[in-house]
């Protein structure tokens, strides 16, 4: 028997193909479904049971053992609590980054090691290089290192990313060729509150929300009513409920959220794309994680799949050569040097 690997299987095509590849490479593979969240929200069915069945079906097809590891309590404590805290503070948290840091590459890793694993594996598009170093995936379009920059080096050193060298279309083709039924499955995160629609329902369940005014920042004019300031992100353009505003301001141009006053529960909007709240040349960060020795001149990614932009890191501040659209507080800025992910921090 080859080395022992526990592979996290979500029921999606990426982790299914990862398990397939490991099996073909001669590893002693065990599939694990991480049960992180199973609560239905009003009007929204949590997909966990279907995802679990999809994962198990693939494991059975591959002839590998399959287990369900229940991390619901830890997920609630570490990920959900963090999300609620951040939203209440007016920020826009990133649950995936926290889930990787606290659950997948911590609890899952630790439990796998206790079970005698040599490695863990996931279906992330990323690569683990020597060192260990976290490296961008070959498929630049799918690279998920943005979500992984906070995982520990210890876990990374024991992690296999079987599809990190592959392109997504090839992953799908391989799934089809091997009769894996989830080749065409819609990508799901396994938790219903990920995505814009789900997040709103989720927050309504857990945070007391009051409707409030939407005001134009330049004039203080009340344009409409919002459902609760926590739902809004700086730079947001959709879902403002101010259509049909009549008169001189109805020139067809969209409004953007430029500021939130959580104390007064007011969301400020503007049509002025040059509003000072939208643009910035510097970003202050907190909770910086450096995976390697800090370098001054780096490339920065401010959203998953966003382009890499050059910047200079001095202490806890990023300086950009050109003005950038200000990302929401609570999101991450992730640093790169070529293919290597250097680390990152959380935007203030």
């Amino acid at each position: 028997m080859g080395k022992k690997v526990f592979v996290g299987m979500s029921g999606g095509v990426d982790s299914s193909v990862s398990a397939l590849l490991l099996k073909e490479q001669g590893y002693d593979v065990t599939g694990v479904y991480m049960k992180n969240w199973s609560r239905d929200l009003p009007g929204m069915k949590c997909p966990w049971a279907e995802d679990l069945a999809d994962a198990k079906r693939v494991a059975v097809k591959l002839g590998i053992p399959f287990e369900v590891w229940d991390f619901e309590e830890a997920y609630r404590d570490k990920v959900v609590e963090y999300m609620l805290r951040e939203f209440k503070a007016g920020n826009t948290p990133n649950p995936d980054i926290m889930c990787n840091q606290e659950i997948k590459f911590k609890l899952f890793y630790e439990k796998a090691m206790e079970h005698g694993a040599d490695f863990i594996a996931t279906g992330h598009y990323a690569r683990a290089g020597a060192g260990p170093s976290l490296m961008r995936a070959v498929d630049e379009n799918k690279d998920q290192t943005y979500f992984l920059y906070r995982i520990s080096n210890e876990a990374l050193g024991h992690t296999l990313f079987p599809i990190g060298e592959m392109l997504k279309p090839d992953v799908k083709k391989l799934a089809e060729k091997n009769g894996l039924h989830n080749a065409y499955k819609k990508e799901s995160m396994g938790v219903c509150f990920v995505g814009e629609v789900g997040m709103k329902d989720f927050l309504k369940e857990y945070i007391d929300i009051e409707p409030g005014e939407i005001r134009e920042i330049e004039t203080e004019k009340v344009l409409g009513v919002h459902e609760g300031a926590v739902f809004y992100t700086i730079g947001q353009r959709h879902g403002l409920y101010i259509s049909g505003v009549k008169g001189e301001i109805n020139d067809g141009l969209p409004y953007y959220v430029v500021k939130k006053d959580l104390v007064k529960n007011i969301v400020y909007v503007s049509k002025n794309l040059n509003d000072k709240h939208i643009w910035t040349k510097e970003l202050k960060l907190k909770d910086i994680v450096m995976r390697t020795e800090p370098t001054k001149h780096i490339l920065v990614r401010l959203r998953h799949r966003a382009p890499l932009i050059p910047a200079t890191l001095v202490d806890d501040t990023l300086y950009f050569e050109q003005e950038i659209k200000r990302p929401a507080a609570g999101q991450s800025a992730v640093f790169y040097d070529g293919e290597v992910c250097l680390g990152g921090g959380i935007i203030l």
Partner: protein
Amino acid sequence: MRLAAFNVVAVARLVYNYGFLCYHIFMIYLDHAAATPVSDKVFEAMKPYFSHDFFNPSAAYLPAKKVAADFEAAKGVIAHAIGAKASDLVITAGATEANNLAFTSINLDGSCRSFSSPTSQGSVGDPLHDRHPSILYLETEHDSVRKIAEQYGGEAVRVLPSGVIDLKDLRAKITDETQLISVSLANNELGTIQPLTEISGIIREIKIDRLKRGIKTQLLLHSDASQALNLLDINVARLGVDLLTLNSAKVYGPKGVGALCVSHDVRLKPVVYGGGQENGLRSGTENVPSVIGFAKAVELAKEHLNGNRKKFASWRKILLAELQGYELINKKHSLDNFVVLCYNGIDAERLVFLLEEKEVYVSTGAACAASKGIKSHVLKAIGLSDAEIAGSLRLTLGETNDEEQIHDVAQIINGVVATERERLNG
């Protein structure tokens, strides 16, 4: 092996009865408790009512009146099959709705506090939790009974390890406040047939006693007969039930239609308001094609009742003889088409997926419970351990099967069980 067993007559029969099933010609379907295909005769009977006879039965002109008459006649066919009249039936959109409607028979004024409407989250404002429950239901009931009973603060009555109701427990739990007892005629996971005449006997005794003591609280018996309509000879008067739920989808009729048979002295409240159809209890333009199909399916079921029972009983014997390494769970008091097995030390869900690859379709329990990843409350109630529940496989025979398939499937199941045991030991 399957190809060797290829039987022209059997295939021809399959194509004749279930023409559209040709796509799955090599399929062996053993999950008839989850769904049954609409037979061609049923489908043919329904067709005119989608197009030519599409009229709203409530409209004034003659063609519409003809549709209304056909609809009433169809209800009559369904009602007669259980010894009732068309006017006793409330047509619903399936058995779940019929079960929910049955619970509106409870009198919430007077003896109980007012009832705030149930929420989807399962925590009702304040109904009856702090007082004697006025509802008793069998702990192995389907969720469409359990969930609504819980909403009303109902109490579960235990089953014996055989799956049959514990009559002692029932007697002990009936109080002077008890208004409704809900016990399915046959369980959907085990096929266990409940002794409804005995239960209605107990109820009669209690009613006599209540009368003597001047207690006027009603005491009704509701039974969900979804699984049994095509396998048992049902007569509402003989069973002594006040409310009986029927389901078209389990008897080779279309999905999304069912009925609640209501005896005369029971007062229900609508769950759907509108144009006042179905005696005001279930508003909405009549689902004519489905009810026509339901009636045809019931007619066919009655016609084939005895033949089917014998056939399924003999196939059950074949399976029990030819399958290996199992323990039979539903040994007694079961519908003839239910075979519930336990494979010790094996994860039956893996068997479901292995069998799926061979176009053999079975289940580990009720389809809706399995898809939610919930352990069967039914198997738990009869005292199975978690490991035994995990090893349990439900086969439900039906009209898409033939004897050839039964022999074949025994070998196929033996094969995948052996594969799985090898994997575990290797």
